[in-house]
């Protein structure tokens, strides 16, 4: 048995509103299942579990604001000896650790809120057994919820201890219908709050500038080879199978990162931990205001077509809702590509606890020396901001140059997915 905690949603998110449970007490869950939907300033996020188990109780009613790291449900798990703090049984410790890092942001406000959540939970646990036999057994939250919605508890089958009615039992009956009828897109709009999002971005970026000694490098990349290759590739494809230049650039970054582990990982509590996987945090501009940086997982193992499909899916979900909690926290480096309407050069601010951010400006026609001659070439400015606690400008320069060289041989980028040298 273990408590399932509200997961970290990234360095710029310290709380979220639980808006929908997708499981109820008694349900069996598997690794990767979505159990709840939460709303943040950046819209709706799907919360996943990372272990097998049976849901025993949902602690938090719908529409509750929950701080990151607070228990939201109890799971009976096979590895039930594991302490609650290790609930997401992942090889990468970053998401947990970033919960800790987030807590440090506002140490004064957090404990009070957490205590109140725990108090509610304790009330429920102590009340259930002392309820008189004449009274319907129901958790206080289930009663409150039922009262709010005008639903009668009579006739509801309880799934809690001694058949007590829990909040999950209510949502599985009368309240399910209106909630399910509401389209996903609406939800994300309801949760999206430009002012809160701006505050969240400001908090994470202020922390980054305060704590991370950034250094900055820039290099100009001749994009002729990549542009020609892309035009030829896309000419033979139907529109839905075409590639964007971003896909080539991201693939070049992912491949280069395998040889530059000091750019791909997390700096936490004074130590740097390189990440075994390459998860590209992609800065996605949200129409209207703000941005998100969901992770494109294991980008080094994808071929270009797969990477493009994932990028398309990630962009759609960032803008319309449906990102998963793991995607909000697993980025190991961030990439910002401004696209054709962007500026020539972008200098990024590192997203903690990551240690590097790459920026790609728009591709412009520029004079370019070829030997003794002058030519006009499509040129793109690539920039790197990296953490001086982990790397220095020499390695940073080599990293940028590797990306540059990789983009000069696009056919190589389209080779089958990268194989581990050892296996």
């Amino acid at each position: 048995m273990s408590d399932f905690l509200m997961p970290s949603l990234g360095a710029d998110m310290d709380e979220a509103v639980l808006v929908e449970w997708q499981v109820k007490a008694g349900d069996t869950v598997h690794r990767g299942d979505v159990i709840a939907v939460v709303e943040t300033a950046k819209g709706a996020i799907e919360v996943e579990v990372f272990e097998e188990g049976v849901v025993e109780e949902l602690y938090v009613p719908v529409d509750t604001t929950v701080p990151v790291g607070s228990p939201i449900a109890r799971l009976a798990t096979q590895a039930s000896v594991a302490p609650a703090s290790q609930t997401p049984a992942e090889p990468e410790t970053a998401p947990n650790a970033s919960v800790e890092a987030d807590r440090q942001l506002e140490p004064s406000t957090k404990p009070a809120v957490e205590v109140s959540v725990k108090t509610e939970k304790n009330d429920r646990i102590t009340q259930t057994p002392t309820t008189t036999p004449e009274r319907l057994k129901a958790s206080p939250l289930a009663r409150q919820r039922a009262a709010q919605s005008g639903q009668s508890l009579a006739g509801v089958t309880g799934s809690g201890p001694q058949g007590a009615i829990l909040v999950g039992d209510l949502t599985s009956t009368a309240q399910q219908a209106p909630a399910a009828a509401e389209p996903k897109g609406e939800k994300s709009h309801a949760g999206f709050n430009p002012i809160e999002m701006r505050k969240a971005i400001a908090a994470a970026m202020a922390r980054s500038k305060r704590e991370i000694p950034h250094y900055y490098l820039a290099t100009a990349v001749d994009m002729l080879a990549a542009t020609r290759w892309l035009e030829a590739y896309n000419a033979s494809q139907t529109p839905e199978k075409r590639l964007l230049m971003s896909a080539l650039i991201f693939k070049a970054v992912a491949n280069a990162l395998r040889d530059f582990p000091e750019m791909n990982g997390y700096f936490q509590e004074g130590t740097y931990q390189p990440s075994p996987s390459v998860n590209l945090g992609i800065a996605i501009n949200l129409r209207g205001a703000g941005l998100m940086t969901p992770a494109l997982m294991d980008a080094d193992k994808l071929d270009l077509a797969e990477l493009m499909t994932k990028l398309q899916d990630l962009t759609r979900r960032a803008r319309q809702g449906g990102l998963r909690s793991s995607e909000m926290t697993r980025g190991t480096i961030t990439i910002t590509a401004l696209g054709e309407r962007g500026a020539d050069t972008v200098y990024g601010v590192i997203y903690p606890p990551q240690v590097a951010i790459l920026g790609f400006g728009k591709v412009n026609s520029r004079p370019w020396a070829i030997g003794d001659m002058l030519a006009v070439r499509p040129v793109m400015q690539a920039t790197l901001a990296a953490d001086h606690r982990v790397s220095d400008g020499h390695r940073g320069g080599l990293f940028l140059d590797r990306i540059n060289q990789t983009l000069q041989d696009p056919e190589q980028l389209n080779q089958p997915a990268h194989q581990e040298p050892e296996s």
Partner: protein, 82 residues
């Protein structure tokens, strides 16, 4: 085959699906989809895919890059029916 109004209606539906913050009423014939409505390269990719799926027209990338406005898209699709 669709007439001009039907093409226009279909395109506006797809554009507002891609950019839900735009309303059908505010999309005018000659405004630049990229500069006035802030459609980015991923949005353009999605629009080309949607036109292919819905209207059966595979607009080559080199042509599509030149089609900047709703009016230009409608005119192209009139000339190049499925």
């Amino acid at each position: 085959m669709m007439n001009r109004d039907e093409l226009r209606t279909a395109l506006i539906e797809e554009i507002t699906r891609i950019a839900p913050d735009l309303s059908a009423a505010e999309i005018t014939d000659d405004a630049s989809l990229r500069d006035d409505y802030d459609l980015d390269s991923m949005d353009s990719f999605n629009l080309a895919s949607a036109i292919h799926k819905r209207l059966g027209v595979n607009i080559p990338e080199t042509d599509f890059a030149r089609l900047q406005s709703l009016a230009q898209l409608v005119a192209y699709l009139e000339k190049h029916p499925a």
